[in-house]
């Protein structure tokens, strides 16, 4: 079976090889190769025969540059994915596509790749929900997964970090319920519900099963928020009973962050409520090289949105061609694996690893002087079509 797949793939790829060598021509004759996954994508929206449609949100800051890098790599590898781009931004509301259009597109295509959306610290309209939150709530993208993994030849204090952080992202502190009850007194509501806590706990355990992980750690602050976080913790404990072969432990969030920076290798899969997840995500990303190298994804029952793990727009680098596209490329590779295009996914991942391991082409955040474009081209040249 694997032989058949490999041979089919090989012949197709050989046909397209001359294209990848002359890659800047950008007119890639992808139509020739449509038949690699001719029947794989039914429930996914297919445009031409065997090609997959994917919603694309470049986002703010360096997002468009990173997305361009992904598109270049996809073209060079002749990957049968067509993008449906939407400009979607909170800081530029006049140009932004309406929320309904974007939501409709993602619901139709089931998959999306997304840059980071900038979120201002103040609200002109008095509305408390950010665009990100609206998108998540509309699609019910309740689970955010960030896989923090040490990459080869990326200098960091810890080695062999490999943990998965799963975060509930539709309730908790992000419920956008704040009010000033008396002048000078602001109350912010943190909502925890049993249904959503059970759902995220089940997601975490199922993800652990799928990834063959051994341990799930629930991060909480139930010693202070005895009712809210207590409910979350109890839901996790309840769910853990259904997974007798996965170890379950709980850790208070402050201790967790300390453990994370001193001994991150003890963690496997972590499940957290909304805000703690955000903090732990960013902290863990910092351990392995920063926002530019960590991929993440958000899942609902039907859709998957792939985005960077640590959400920074990096607006200081806009137009300077210095942002690191590694995270976005890893996202795209994860997306391909999600839609069963495993060989393409591996091809991209191997290319990234090879470029990083060689260490000749590094962007500024990893201590080099190369540009975003240099890195992208290095990845394209490392694509091994013969796998």
């Amino acid at each position: 079976m694997s032989l058949i797949t490999r041979n089919v793939f090989r012949t197709l790829v050989q046909g397209s090889q001359h294209v990848s060598k002359g890659l800047h021509t950008s007119a890639v004759n992808a139509d020739k190769n449509v038949c690699f996954a001719p029947f794989s994508m039914s429930s996914l929206q297919t445009s031409k025969e065997g090609r997959i449609k994917c919603t694309l949100i470049p986002g703010d800051g360096v997002g468009p540059e990173l997305v361009y890098s992904v598109q270049e790599v996809f073209k060079a590898a002749s990957i049968p994915v067509d993008f449906e781009p939407f400009f979607f931004s909170e800081v530029n509301p006049t140009l932004s596509a309406p929320l309904e259009d974007v939501v409709g597109s993602i619901a139709r295509n089931k998959i999306c790749i997304k840059g980071i959306l900038a979120t201002p610290d103040f609200s002109h309209t008095g509305e408390l929900q950010t665009l990100n939150m609206k998108l998540r709530n509309a699609l019910d993208l309740y689970a955010n997964v960030v896989h923090v993994k040490s990459l080869p030849n990326v200098k960091s204090r810890h080695h062999d970090v490999d943990c998965i952080i799963i975060r509930e992202q539709t309730e908790g502190e992000y419920s956008a319920l704040e009010h000033e009850s008396v002048p000078g007194v602001v109350e912010c509501l943190k909502i925890i519900t049993a249904a959503k806590s059970e759902r995220i706990a089940k997601f975490a355990f199922d993800y652990a099963v799928k990834m063959r992980r051994r341990k799930v750690t629930a991060v909480h602050k139930a010693n202070i928020m005895k009712l809210g976080d207590g409910l979350f913790l109890r839901s996790c404990e309840e769910m853990a009973k259904l997974y007798p072969r996965i170890e379950f432990e709980k850790m208070i969030v402050d201790n967790c962050t300390m453990q994370m920076v001193s001994n991150p290798n003890q963690f496997d899969v972590m499940v957290t409520p909304n805000l703690y997840g955000n903090i732990v995500d960013n902290l863990a990303s910092g351990l392995v090289g920063g926002a530019g190298v960590v991929a993440g994804a958000s899942y609902s029952a039907d859709c998957a949105v792939f985005e960077q793990g640590a959400r920074h727009v990096f607006s200081g680098a806009v137009g300077k061609n210095i942002a690191n596209p590694t995270a976005m490329l890893l996202c795209s590779a994860n997306l391909l694996a999600h839609v069963n295009l495993h060989s393409y996914s591996k091809m991209i991942k191997n290319a990234i690893n090879k470029v990083l391991a060689d260490g000749k082409v590094r962007t500024k955040d990893l201590g080099g002087q190369s540009t975003t474009l240099d890195f992208t081209h290095a990845v394209i040249h490392s694509l091994d079509h013969h796998q």
Binding site: A107, K202, F203, D206, D302
Partner: protein, 388 residues
């Protein structure tokens, strides 16, 4: 419990809103899987969130003994080839151990995934306290209805052509109650338990099934002339249910006569409804008529769970590892599973390829009169996928 559930739903308007929104954006038609998990029914068990993430389903896979593991291998090959959005969670059950740990774990995984596909699990232990694993699985998950879709393949030579029967069998009680005792030395009593509630559930299932699939007739099979109370209750219940479905014809037949009619004039049957042991016998009779154990697939349904398996529940230990086992039954079971989950496109791809392999190309294993090996059949199916 139901009241608590309803109040929970009321408390979560944003949850409902989100569900409606995504439902509105997605195709409106609900799969059987979604019907099981989204419709508000009175639940006996605690609600466990559904294992569906980003459009992919998690499914428990129990290869079982005998030819199970190799057949599951073929299913995985085919799923990989067509890219079916299903992630299997493999659970092996050791047939030789005397404890129920593995089985309990398997049951737990089905509970959290909602759906399973299984081969036949062997129970080698003779100890009285070790119950049959297959029965334990069905009882624990409360899968009260078993459906066997018996449709002839024109490519398989049999005595009768164009048979199309659906057998629906009560799956959790009756003779399989596993209650036996020796009241006096040398006298053993085995209890057959028939309850009104279970009879009603399976009867309703049968008539609903007939209605939804455009079937015309339901035949209740029984032995109420001898077991006037137990089988009488089953028969009475199905007669009562039939009155609620006036558009579907209902008749009944005694099991011994039924078997004779089946081998003589099988075309008179449409949907058949029966208790546990009769179901076991009749499904084997019909499978025999259609070409043996290797073709048909069966489905176990409960209120919350569904498990798919080869139709006749034979382990096939004798032919394991010889590359001659017929993989069609397990592949059909996987097609049923895809349909249940709502992946009709992928299910159709495999079904059409299987039909082409059997009826047009006639690549068959020895048990149905061919000469091909298992792998040749699978390769033929793979080659036929997507081809008209």
């Amino acid at each position: 419990m139901a009241v608590r559930l309803l109040s929970k739903i009321k408390l979560l308007p944003e949850l409902r809103g989100a569900a409606y929104l995504s439902a509105a954006a997605a195709p409106a038609e609900l799969s059987d899987f979604e019907v099981q998990h989204k419709t508000p029914v009175i639940r006996k068990q605690k609600l466990i969130p559904v294992a569906q993430y980003g459009g992919r389903h998690a499914v428990t896979m129990l290869p079982g003994g005998g030819i199970g593991p190799e057949c599951m291998g073929y299913v995985r090959d085919i799923f990989k080839y067509i890219g079916a959005p299903v992630d299997f969670e493999l659970v092996d059950i050791d047939a030789n151990v005397d404890n129920d740990d593995d089985v309990q774990y398997a049951i737990t995984t089905i509970k959290r995934n909602g759906v399973g596909i299984k081969g036949n699990i062997e129970t080698k232990s003779e100890a009285a306290y070790v119950t049959s694993r297959n029965v334990a699985l069905r009882n624990e998950l409360d899968m009260y209805a078993y459906v066997l879709n018996c449709k002839s393949y024109p490519g398989v030579t049999t005595r009768h052509k164009d048979i199309d029967i659906v057998i629906i069998r009560q799956n959790t009680e009756g003779e399989y109650a596993m209650l036996e005792h020796e009241s006096v030395r040398g006298v053993i009593e085995s209890m057959k338990v028939v309850t009104a509630s279970n009879s009603e559930r399976v009867a309703r299932f049968a008539f609903e099934f007939a209605k939804r699939n455009g079937r015309k007739k339901v035949t209740t099979v029984h032995k109420a002339n001898i077991m006037k109370l137990s089988d009488g209750l089953f028969l009475e219940t199905s007669r009562r249910m039939a009155q609620e479905y006036p558009e579907i014809e209902h008749n009944d037949m005694i099991i011994d006569n039924c078997c004779m009619q089946l081998v003589a004039k099988p075309h008179q049957f449409d949907v058949m409804l029966m208790t546990n042991l009769y179901g076991s016998i009749v499904s084997n009779v019909v499978c025999g008529l259609l070409g043996g154990a290797g073709l048909l697939s069966g489905r176990n349904y409960g209120d919350h769970y569904a498990v798919f398996e080869p139709g006749t529940r034979n382990t096939g230990t004798a032919i394991a590892g010889k590359n001659i086992a017929n993989p069609i039954a397990m592949i059909n079971a996987s097609v049923d599973m895809l349909e249940h989950l709502g992946h009709h496109f992928h299910a159709g791809l495999i079904r059409r390829a299987v039909e082409k392999t059997i009826n047009v190309d006639r690549v068959l294993t020895p048990d149905v009169g061919g000469t091909a090996s298992s792998t040749e059949v699978v390769n033929s199916i793979l080659g036929n996928i997507g081809r008209r």
